[in-house]
């Protein structure tokens, strides 16, 4: 266990409020989208921390890919929310 893995584990706790908002009965679709976008940013950081903590260089590429795909996903969902959903 090192400081990077500890940070990643604690950071994973911040996904709990995101999940509660996402699955909350009173949450609107926009609230769920916001929690999804926050969770994406947190997950990207978790990947970076896990990459350093485990010493696996390939996880850095995962974080980079997730950062790019989070943008695409967020924009696609926003676009659909605005017009069709």
């Amino acid at each position: 266990m090192n400081v990077w893995l500890i940070a990643a584990t604690v950071l994973l706790l911040s996904l709990l409020p995101c999940g509660l908002v996402c699955y909350g009965r009173n949450s609107s679709p926009i609230d769920r989208l916001i929690s999804f976008e926050l969770a994406s940013a947190i997950d990207t950081l978790v990947f970076l921390l896990l990459a350093q903590g485990f010493g696996r260089d390939v996880y850095f590429d995962l974080a980079l890919a997730l950062a790019l795909l989070s943008l695409a996903g967020g924009l696609v969902f926003s676009h659909f929310m605005e017009r069709w959903v």
Binding site: V3, W4, A7, V10, L11, L13, S14, L15, L16, P17, C18, L20, V21, S28, P29, I30, D31, L33, I34, S35, E37, L38, A41, I42, T44, L45, L48, L49, A51, Q52, D57, F60, D61, A63, L64, A67, L68, S70, L71, G74, L75, S78, H79, M81, E82, R83
Partner: protein, 108 residues
């Protein structure tokens, strides 16, 4: 524990605190438009602290460069996603995003 380890630990502590605060805000703040503001620190300050910690640890090795690229992507894409979501939320609420008369600051 070296000075570098202490610096890294402090940076990571700050990053985790920022992200936890943003996630907590998502839960306690009720209005969607107010909630959106907390994507800002999560996509700017949090990644900045994590990337700084990684660069302190790895310097400008391949991993350090990848971390900088990832942090830079989060920093640049955060405002785009925030704007797109805000616009979608506004259109869903009012049918259009255009300002209402009482929102214009130039109006007396």
């Amino acid at each position: 524990m070296s000075v570098r380890d202490i610096v890294v630990a402090l940076l990571l502590f700050g990053a985790v605190a920022v992200e936890l605060a943003c996630a907590l805000a998502l839960f306690v703040v009720k209005d969607s438009f107010d909630r959106l503001h907390f994507l800002g620190p999560a996509a700017t300050l949090g990644p900045l602290l994590v990337v700084t910690a990684l660069v302190v640890e790895n310097s400008l090795s391949t991993n350090g460069v990848k971390a900088i690229l990832t942090g830079g992507l989060l920093l640049l894409t955060g405002p785009i996603v925030t704007h797109a979501t805000a616009r979608a939320a506004r259109v869903r609420q009012f049918g259009h995003w255009e300002p209402l008369p009482f929102e214009e600051v130039d109006r007396d």
